[in-house]
């Protein structure tokens, strides 16, 4: 037993990323002594961003991944940009961290303090009333036990704290938030928006709603402690020294630290959540030190599972006991099932003639967004029926091409050299992001025949997109082509890459929220139905995926669950004394 290690806390938060940071902040600020356990290494904000200020020529191989990288990170490399020399260190070595695939699943992970909050896409889109109502309405999955009005105040809270830019649109399918000033659209984006508005009554274009600071103060007048306005470098995924986009490292973890009630322990792999049959509560967690392999047990009255969807679900499945032989809180048998991810990498591109005398200054770190326009409640019966349920939105980009436009041709000489120094023609692209339905047979399981170096079972994925997603994708491609064509742009070209679950890095749903303990894993407060002091607030709890990027929703539910947990904790304290 280590002599000087504190082993008992009020709350334990497993994971230090997007939701772990929020749980830590909320719980500590409300008076609890909190242990945050991170399985990976320390990343100090502003200090441990080794490539933040490097130009392309400063990077090894000018950014290209080496063969050594590709061999070590061979599954991470399925999204090639992840292995760019500027950001490859945020993703795991697949040889050290293997997993199995009954069907291909691209599991992109970062094991370090801050997790994927350091390299997320920063899109912050609220789910709407019709998203929370969707499962009940069309009979897929189970009903959310929460409605928009329940979570709206928590969206407000999170948006104001992290800082989200956006335009007010008053769309039922994409509720407005507490926005900082939007980043402006460039000339061609404005042109496309105008043409979309002319051609369609059901769709519009807006700047992406992202967690970037465009003001020194939040909507509620609070300062963004330790963070400053975006400098338009667009090197976000390397880690931002000025904290201009939201990450746990820049925002929530420092806030938790300022309370004096945070203990952050890195290199700590949680192997089990301990369950006590008498109290019917969790008592703490077992931890393996990733380096020394030392085993420790930490105790707390509240456990927050924020390790990311797959890691949290694996941990719950691993936490077997006489009461829970199939995993902690798994009375329903749904734990590990209903795995979802958004399907994307489909859309269209076009050339835009004109605007040759126009350009932009600064590297805006966000593209534009076309909110969902399919299968909306407010659409009347005059809309043609579609052969799929739910919907999708588009994220888009529009810029002048750079020197790379010269690659796929064969010119040479002085004229080539000097022409490629100039801004090229304008090019626009649309990328659809579509909702995935919850299917019971899309699942993960644990393989105890193959253990990792810490003696823990490997995760196996068995997940695929099905007919609804495939039909939706056909419409996504067709609509992308149609919109660009209607805008009068040239060389409109559809594109489609194979849709592979996991690729969007929005995996979710494997410990879903629901009314009924027989069909779901957590209740409306994110508590395991059967173990009231274990909260699951990462993507595991999602009952449906909607089309929106999910991190904002994870954070809002985490803040809400933390407030609930604190009340529970205080009532326990009152009971005891």
């Amino acid at each position: 037993m280590p002599g000087d290690i504190q082993l008992t806390f009020d709350a334990i938060v497993i994971g230090s990323g997007m939701t772990g940071g929020w749980a830590a902040k909320e719980l500590t600020e409300q008076g609890l002594k909190v242990l945050v356990l991170e399985r990976g290494r320390m990343v100090e904000h502003g200090i441990d961003y080794p490539t933040a200020h490097q130009d392309t020529w400063d990077l090894p191989l000018h950014g290209k991944p080496s063969q050594t990288d590709l061999k070590q990170q061979y599954k991470q490399a399925r999204s090639p940009f992840l292995l760019n020399q500027a950001i490859k260190h945020w993703f795991v070595n697949d040889i050290d961290h293997p997993y199995n695939e009954s069907k291909r699943f691209d599991w992109h992970r970062g094991y370090h303090v801050g997790g994927k909050s350091l390299n997320w896409g920063r899109q912050c889109l609220r789910l709407s009333e019709q998203d929370f109502d969707a499962n009940k309405r069309d009979g897929h999955g189970v009903d959310w036990p929460v409605r928009y009005q329940d979570i709206a105040p928590w969206y407000d809270k999170v948006e104001q704290y992290i800082g989200v830019i956006g335009e007010l649109l008053n769309l039922p399918q994409l509720p407005d938030g507490k926005f900082l000033p939007a980043m402006p659209l460039n000339c061609v984006e404005q042109d496309f928006r105008h043409k979309l508005n002319q051609a369609y009554s059901d769709r519009t274009l807006t700047i992406g709603r992202v967690a970037h600071l465009t003001d020194e103060k939040a909507v509620d007048g609070q300062k963004f402690e330790g963070r400053s306005k975006c400098q338009y470098r667009n090197r976000c995924m390397r880690g931002c020294p000025s904290g201009s986009y939201f990450s746990s490292n820049a925002s929530t973890l420092p806030a938790a630290k300022r309370t004096g009630r945070l203990t952050l322990r890195t290199d700590s792999i949680v192997s089990e959540i301990c369950y006590d049959d008498d109290s019917k509560l969790a008592t703490g967690v077992k931890v393996i030190d990733a380096n020394s392999l030392e085993k420790l047990t930490f105790k707390a009255q509240i456990i927050f599972c924020c390790a990311s969807t797959i890691a949290t679900t694996s941990l719950l499945l691993q936490s077997r006991s006489k009461r829970f032989p199939n995993g902690l809180g798994n009375d329903s048998g749904e734990l590990g099932h209903n795995l979802m991810d958004h399907h994307f990498q489909i859309g269209a591109r076009a050339d835009v003639e004109g605007f040759k005398n126009k350009y932009y200054k600064g590297r805006r770190p966000v593209g534009f967004h076309i909110p969902r326009f399919r299968n909306l409640e407010q659409q009347n019966e005059h809309h043609e029926p579609l052969n799929f349920v739910r919907g999708y939105g588009f994220q888009g980009y529009c810029s002048r091409t750079n020197w790379q436009r010269g690659i796929k041709e064969m010119s040479f000489g002085k004229q080539l050299k000097e022409s490629l120094l100039k801004p090229g023609a304008w090019r626009i692209g649309l990328v659809g992001f579509g909702e995935c339905l919850p299917y019971h047979d899309n699942k993960i399981s644990l393989d105890y025949q193959q253990l990792d170096q810490w003696g823990l079972p490997r995760v196996n994925f068995d997940c695929q997109f099905k007919e609804n997603e495939k039909r939706m994708r056909a419409d996504m491609k067709a609509q992308a082509v149609e919109m660009l064509t209607n805008a009068g742009y040239d060389n409109v070209t559809p594109y489609e890459k194979e849709a592979v679950p996991g690729h969007a890095i929005h995996e979710m749903g494997t410990a879903r929220m629901g009314h009924d303990p027989k069909t779901s894993v957590v209740n409306k407060h994110n508590q395991l139905h059967a173990v009231a002091n274990v909260y699951v607030t990462d993507g595991s709890f999602m009952t449906s995926s909607a089309y929106q990027n999910p991190s904002l929703t994870y954070m809002a539910f985490t803040a809400r669950a933390a407030a609930h947990a604190v009340k529970q904790f205080q009532s326990l304290g009152d009971e005891h004394g």
Binding site: H53, D55, T56, W57, D58, L61, H62, G63, K64, P65, S66, Q67, T68, M183, P184, L185, N186, C187, E189, Q190, Q231, Y232, R233, K356, N357, K358, Y359, Y360, K361, G362, R363, R364, R400, N402, W403, Q404, G406, I407, K408, E409, M410, S411, F412, G413, K414, L416, K417, E418, L420, L421, K422, P423, G424
Partner: protein, 213 residues
């Protein structure tokens, strides 16, 4: 395939109108001079031979030549290309590149023998022009063919496939090395690492060259 057959094969595959006696005569008439000593700049080649390095350097000089603005050879882009091929390509990709380089070397020797008195730059200029100054539809065919696995290439096209693998890879990496070089990035293009502002619609004349990547 013996030497005679090989000569006819590559001559035909390149669309070069040449009789066999002429080809044999010119092939033996001169040697290509690779004057630049790679070792002199203290760079140890990672994968290219000295001759291949000289060829890559020569081709890069044709693709992005010196003008009022620095050219690719002056920036020693060939060294960058050697590193990229060595560290980022699979062994199969490297092998295909080298086979293409060896074929280009034969083309160069042949060309040099035809015109023994012309300057070395002109040999590269002529050959790059021979292989790149072709109709657009032919270019597209070649790019499409480059996407295929070697097993899927018709025997008659294999020679061209390797040759263009070398030439197009050299061309692409010349562009990459040049436009992402420190010198061009900081001195020629518009270098603004911390813009601090976003102006969505400025006049292009305000900046002239594109923003540095």
């Amino acid at each position: 395939m013996d030497r005679r057959e090989a000569l006819m094969f590559f001559a035909k595959s390149m669309g070069v109108a040449v009789t066999l006696p002429t080809a044999i005569a010119t092939l033996t008439a001169c040697q290509v001079s690779f004057g630049k000593d790679v070792g002199s700049n203290k760079y140890s080649l990672a994968i290219l031979s000295s001759k291949q390095y000289q060829m890559v350097s020569g081709i890069s000089d044709v693709i992005l030549p010196e003008s009022e603005i620095v050219g690719a050879e002056q920036l020693n882009v060939a060294q960058f290309i050697d590193q990229i091929i060595s560290e980022t390509m699979t062994s199969t990709q490297q092998k295909h590149f080298i086979i293409g380089a060896e074929q280009f070397e034969r083309e160069l020797n042949y060309h040099c023998q035809q015109k023994p008195n012309c300057a070395q730059f002109n040999h590269y200029q002529s050959l790059v022009s021979l292989f790149f100054s072709i109709p657009k539809h032919k270019q597209q065919q070649i790019f499409s063919q480059q996407m295929l696995a070697i097993e899927d290439i018709a025997v008659k096209d294999v020679y061209d496939h390797y040759l263009y693998k070398f030439l197009l890879t050299t061309r692409e990496l010349t562009l990459l090395g040049y436009y992402t070089s420190e010198y061009v990035g900081e001195n020629i293009m518009n270098y603004d690492p911390v813009p601090d502002t976003y102006q969505p619609c400025i006049d292009v004349t305000d900046v002239d060259n594109a923003w540095s990547s």
